[in-house]
């Protein structure tokens, strides 16, 4: 409140202040050895102000009365300097203030209350299980790394609109990498634990991950990759598992439908978007088949982007980015929603932010970051095996791997963890050196099968980068498995 008063006295028409304490625990191991036991804590305040339509922001780790006032005044000074290069003043969409609110992630066990010996012990036990297959040291053997990462963020937001909300956000990511090595052949292959995705949960997510049981399978799969057949280039029908497909959704649907990108605000780093300009694509662009529906939300249970309020006090809503295959809406903040006023009015909707504002910490300014963006399951009760059985010649891909996409989100290339050759409706063997290249609109329009609700899973990005300075966001993507016809597959195993 001190910060908000100081900002207003200095000339701000709007201000918000975020105080957050982020606790991070990172336990990392390799083989039978602990690499690191680290507890991090960072605490501070960030103040954002609007002066005559220009933004300013300043932050400090020191929460004394004098320093908080200095930071608020510094934010106003920033805004005043920025007015000199102003062409379109910022206008904020209306918000319904929340004078007193609290929200907490659905974490059952606080990871910071769990004894460190238990966490270390679990990882070393999982490593031991993997090493039964990979055996430590020596020739033609292998290696294993494992880790647990936990975040607890206690965040208080106050705005001059009258919002005051306190939220406690948890995130958890257990992970392993098994690597099999054939020293004589100069070959090595990795299997990352992509079956276990990061979640907005507590330590129970680690317990549910069954690391010790899964470790042996991951190690065996790494070994099997050494002997897998190198793929023949060509066009294949692809069957994509949810542990893989979430990343393709993230890159080719979630990022291009960020309104700041479409308007050119991220052109210097993240890029712009092929889903642009808004008036030419909203309600018109055919993104995929009619059975394709893509939902944005910040409410799925245990999802990474779940919150009660976003970082400007908006209660996020659930909306369809793609409805029946047609592009329907962008991700927005309060600053951005007014850009779409004509579209919203034509739809009989109010001009409101979707609640997609986020900053990674107190030290960073909030801006538009993606909510959970999920491909909704189909009406038929199909599962992974049904898609394989229906495919004559194709490749099934499990787990996310290498990824790269252009600055307008047209051309992408994805690898994976495991690749299986399909012939006559059956998996006939493992492949390696596989990557597929897509042009986004053709790829989604080539989707001809979609799993049902029973096969829907949440994947997630823990460190999605955007903005300058780059900030990290955590977001989940739910989806069932899908099939895509005749996708271009390359071989990545060239030697010169």
């Amino acid at each position: 409140m001190l910060a908000l008063d100081a900002a207003k006295s200095a000339g701000a028409s709007y201000a918000d202040a975020r105080i957050s304490r982020n606790n991070v625990r990172n336990v990392s191991t390799r083989e039978l050895r602990v690499l690191g036991l680290v507890d991090n804590e960072t605490f501070g305040i960030g103040v954002r102000v609007l002066v005559e339509g220009a933004w300013g922001f300043a932050a400090t780790n020191e929460l004394t009365r004098d320093e908080v006032i200095r930071v608020a005044q510094q934010a106003v000074a920033q805004a005043k300097a920025n007015r000199s290069a102003l062409r379109r003043p910022v206008e904020l969409a209306p918000v319904t203030p929340t004078p007193e609110g609290t929200w907490r992630s659905p974490a059952r066990i606080d990871p910071f209350d769990v004894a460190i010996e238990e966490q270390v012990g679990l990882l070393l036990q999982a490593n031991e299980a993997a090493l039964k297959v990979l055996k430590p040291g020596g020739r033609g053997m292998g290696f294993v790394n494992s880790s647990m990462f936990f975040l607890r963020e206690e965040k208080t937001l106050a705005t001059t609109d009258g919002t005051f909300v306190v939220q406690t956000i948890y995130r958890a990511q257990p992970s392993m990498t098994c690597q099999a090595v054939n020293v004589q052949a100069g070959d090595f292959q990795s299997r990352q634990s992509t079956d276990i995705q990061p979640m907005g949960r507590g330590y129970e997510h680690v317990l549910d991950a069954n690391l010790v049981v899964n470790a042996e399978r991951w190690a065996n799969e790494a070994q099997e990759k050494l002997k897998a057949k190198s793929v023949d280039v060509g066009r294949y029908d692809l069957i994509l598992h949810p542990t893989h497909l979430w990343l393709t959704i993230h890159e080719s649907i979630a990022h291009p439908t960020e309104l700041d990108r479409a308007l050119g605000f991220e052109a210097n780093y993240a890029g712009t978007s092929f889903v642009s300009p808004p008036e030419a694509v909203l309600g018109k662009l055919k993104y995929g088949p009619e059975f394709m529906n893509v939902q944005a939300d910040r409410s799925q249970d245990g999802s990474l982007a779940a919150v009660g309020w976003d970082d400007e006090g908006v209660k996020p809503d659930e909306y369809l980015i793609i409805r029946n295959g047609v592009f329907n809406d962008y991700q927005t903040t309060r600053e951005q929603a007014p850009y779409l006023a004509d579209w919203y009015r034509s739809q009989g909707r109010e001009v409101r932010s979707h609640g997609n504002s986020y900053a990674q910490s107190w030290a960073d300014v909030q801006f538009q970051r993606m909510p959970n963006v999920s491909l909704l399951p189909g009406e038929r009760d199909l599962v992974w095996d049904d898609l394989i059985a229906a495919t004559d010649r194709g490749i099934a891909i499990v787990g996310d791997g290498s990824f790269s996409i252009d600055q307008q989100r047209y051309n992408a290339q994805f690898g994976g963890q495991l690749f299986y050759e399909i012939r006559g409706g059956k998996i006939v063997g493992m492949l390696k050196d596989v990557a597929y290249q897509i042009r986004t609109p053709e790829f989604w329009n080539s989707m001809d099968m979609l799993g049902g609700r029973r096969s829907y899973e949440l994947g997630g990005a823990f460190g999605d980068g955007k903005g300058q300075p780059a900030q990290s966001n955590a977001v989940s993507h739910g989806c069932p498995p899908t099939r895509h016809r005749q996708v271009n597959v390359i071989n990545t195993g060239r030697q010169s």
Partner: protein, 458 residues
Amino acid sequence: MSGPRSLFGAAPAHLGRAQAEALCKRVLGFSTADEMRVNVSSGSTANTRFAVNQISTAGDNTNVSITVRAVFGKKAGSATTNRVDDESLRAVVKRAESLARLAPDDPEMLPELGPQTYAPAGGYDASTAALSPADRAAAVRAITDRAATAGLVSTGYLEANGGSQAVATSRGLFAWSESTAAALTTTVRTPDGTGSGWAGATSHDWSRIDPAALGARAIEKAERSRNPVAVEPGRYTVILEPTAVGNLVQLIAGAAQARAADEGRSFFSKPGGGTKIGQKVVDERVTLLSDPLDTEAYGSTFGGDGLPARKITWIQNGVVQNLAYDRWWAQQKGAEPSAFPGSLRMLGGSATLDEMIASTERGLLVTRLWYIRPVDPRTILYTGLTRDGTFLIENGRITRAVKNLRWNESPIFMLNNVEMMGAPVRVSASESGGPGQAVVVPPLKVRDFTFTSLSDAV
């Protein structure tokens, strides 16, 4: 608070040597562990973003980070705080110690280092640390005004930061250095969205960055890159501007870890066992080195454990000379350990960009590379795309703009196919437009660069 009332009341907004040393001593004084290490970093970072020819956001922050590593016997644990009052420092020491007590023995535990000798560090410029919001806004306007006048759309990012790093151990080691970094990058697009040009620069010294010149270069590239045509993907002779070379060559240093090589899981592993040290892996004209005292690319003079960083030649005349050894692995292998200096230089040649173009019958001129991600660590194979200025060269001349292309290529393969090399320059090689690590590289002409598909992205 019983600590300093304000760390950041007046510029510079970071801890000086004496302040840092006093803080480290306070922390070490709370220790009950067998050994302790304290790392302190402090400073401020300030930025201004612009988009659609106006400033979009700007901000600054000040922070300090204190990391304590406690050791009991062969057990270690670490904790970090950003508060400097005695109560918080006691608490962070206690957290590190309780983690350490509960840790299993580390078979690779080495004692903390005692006092070391460090070369005097460069790379700090007081005026860069003190760049004001108004200074930054003026630099931005040197680009946005010109772009607006030309009927173009400019977007970009300016960052300036200053800070200090310190490390102290209970065995009497103390190291401190201060550094600054500034970066300015801009992407200028044509309003019809068919052309895009980029320019960027980074230095520890803001005065070495010329905003107007960067704006002019990005504007020229945007105008020349309008209405690109498609060329067939495949293997091309390419002329890579220094930024594109930096984007790729810096990946080699990241892969040059001795331990992974000895373990058989690196490009630098020798089939059958051991590393490729002593083997020729790229063209004999290629030399890659890291020198913390490089005046164009200052790096850090010590690592997180206080180990001095020395000049390391990774590849000399095409032959692998050194890999990065931490203290433990160096001891196992009888090698000399070093901290990684965080900077990289590739030696060049005398060819100019114009001579490279004039000597090319058919090829592509590439401004920079983007969304670069690993594909196959066995060969340091990466994928990514060209971006913001890709042109066709025919019969010794740039004839027109071409659409962007996806490539799958290894900097190792590329440096085996070198045709011509120019003079090295400092580049802005980080994708995010921040200062990143200091990279100095030449422009290159190389044959058989592999493009695998077309992109419609501008």
